[in-house]
Amino acid sequence: MRTKLVAASLLASSALFAAPAFAFEMRSSTWATNTVTIQVNSGVPGALPTHYAKLLDAEAKIDNNASALRFDLVVDNDAVSAVSNGENELNFTSDPALLCGSIGCTWIIEGGGQILEADSYFDINYAWTLDDNKWNSIAYDPTKKRPLINTAMHELLHTMGAKHENDCINIMGNAWNVVSTNGDHTEVVVSEDTTSGLIAVNGQRAGTVTDVSVMHWQLDPVATGASAYSAHRRSRLLDAAGALLPLAFGYPEPTYEASPGQVIQVEMTLENRGTASQTPSLGTYWSTNETITTGDTLLSATSPVLNVNVPYETTRTVTIPVTAVPGQVYWVGAIVDRTSALTESNKVNNAAYIAAIEVQ
């Protein structure tokens, strides 16, 4: 009953930003209506108010997707959650069977070309990260846990028909590090590839949706290996010849060694999750800290063509300012739509620091 739908291969017209073709994985069946009601167990808002707030955040972010499909998270009118009871439900439990041996699991019943029921369960005993601070997330500190909002979006996108993905950076892979991070704030959204899949199956939303973003994460094909889930690694800084810059020791995040005036290449991942192609302004910035704004020093500017299809993993070549002080640490970052020409549903994900540089 499942069909792998191959995404239309819409390549960017700019050679610099040409993207390879990937495929989203969607169920061929979908919901009979464009708004799916999911009932969160009536005990959750009272017993787990912060968890519940994160579920509502996840709902809001998913409902910004560019397809016609939405869902409505409501409080259940009874205290029972069950598979195959005709209701779409969400609950927290310690039952390993309903969790499928994982920390989140979604059960889906299909028939007659439609998704008829979906039930998601989350592990109540898992110490979910319940805020957007990167230092509380396993993505940035291996001793921490996964953010609930990322996992909730992953599971709720299962209910919308999305399947696991392993050939491009994707929230339907390892969801916890699919974020745009600026300063200490992480911002998660429905991935571009997933958006393309939702549109392919459910059609495009009426009206215009615009949302472009930049991330310092990219697909790690080796770590993905035989897994059904895409694994992700940090975007890197390379020298002019394409070799990885030397890494400095003693820092909690990727920090490279480079010299004033040195030409380097900065990797980044751009996404367009809207309803139309965009040619946003893109700037690469030099900053004294990991918060990237237009108040920082612009190193390079361009305007890539971003079609709605797959993530664009690309590199920008820049020169480290000759005024950079040896011994000090700086950050290289990027802002997409740096001229603020687009009216977007989300501006928070328009900036990300890529990596730090300890100037030699």
Partner: protein, 240 residues
């Protein structure tokens, strides 16, 4: 959702992984030397070994039969379909015997009325597939593998473990005599079984709370004025 194996292997390799045990004085999570395709990075092997310690059986096998059966009616009369998947064991590390078969039970399949149940974490299994398996008892819960989807490492297909990768994985999983004494029960596709489909009531226990980052300066090198301006601008990085 998968275990964190891929996250770790995505970010740390070799010496980097060793030094990471030293906390924030460790080298940063950045790419190191590439692991050859079809093999697992050192940290992925370590996490595989940890999963293997929870496994009752570890073996290489090929799927030779897939049967379906409904669970017994629950208190409300509901039943759901399960697949009983049988592997011929080619190579046994523990818990099963080489040359024999072992059957695991997995939620999913077709209802009598034609509807289909699928479960996000249960791998899609097909006749003839070969894999390295980390198994629980065959009739355990909704999925008979450790970590469910994570307990199956494919040996065929484009992104499969290579022969070297399999040897590497088996070496990491070899858990000694005590572990080898454990046996994994095989599921019986002919035997009736119950499965609880419903949860009554809401969450009652206060869940564990994740450690917070207060002890760490949220952004040690931040420019407070810039951060303030960013927040005042709704985190839109284009400041006016």
């Amino acid at each position: 959702m998968p275990m964190s194996r891929a996250l770790l292997s995505a970010s740390l390799t070799g010496l980097t992984a060793l030094a990471a045990a030293c906390g924030h004085d460790a080298p940063p999570p950045a790419p190191g030397p590439d692991t050859p395709p079809g093999q697992l990075a050192p940290d992925a092997l370590a996490e595989l070994a940890a999963s293997g310690a929870r496994a009752k059986a570890i073996f290489v096998g090929q799927i030779v039969a897939i049967d379906e059966r409904l669970s017994e009616p629950d208190a409300d009369g509901r039943q759901i379909p399960f697949q009983f998947v049988t592997w011929k064991v080619d190579r046994a590390l523990r818990g099963v015997d080489a040359g024999r078969t072992w059957t695991g039970r997995f939620a999913g399949g077709t209802f009598p009325d034609g509807r289909h149940l699928s479960v996000s974490e249960v791998p899609e299994l097909a006749m003839g597939q070969r894999a390295l398996l980390l198994a629980d008892d065959g009739d355990a819960g909704a999925c008979a593998l450790i970590g469910c989807r994570d307990g199956l490492l494919a040996l065929d297909g484009a992104a499969a473990l290579s022969a070297d990768g399999l040897d590497q994985a088996l070496a990491a999983l070899d858990g000694g005599a005590a572990a080898k004494a454990v046996r994994a029960r095989s599921a019986d596709p002919r035997a009736p079984f119950a499965f609880t489909l419903a949860l009554s009531g809401g969450p009652i226990a206060a869940p564990p709370v994740a450690a917070r980052a207060e002890a760490r300066a949220a952004e040690p090198d931040a420019d407070p004025a810039e951060v303030e301006a960013l927040i005042a601008n709704g985190r839109n990085p284009v400041l006016r």
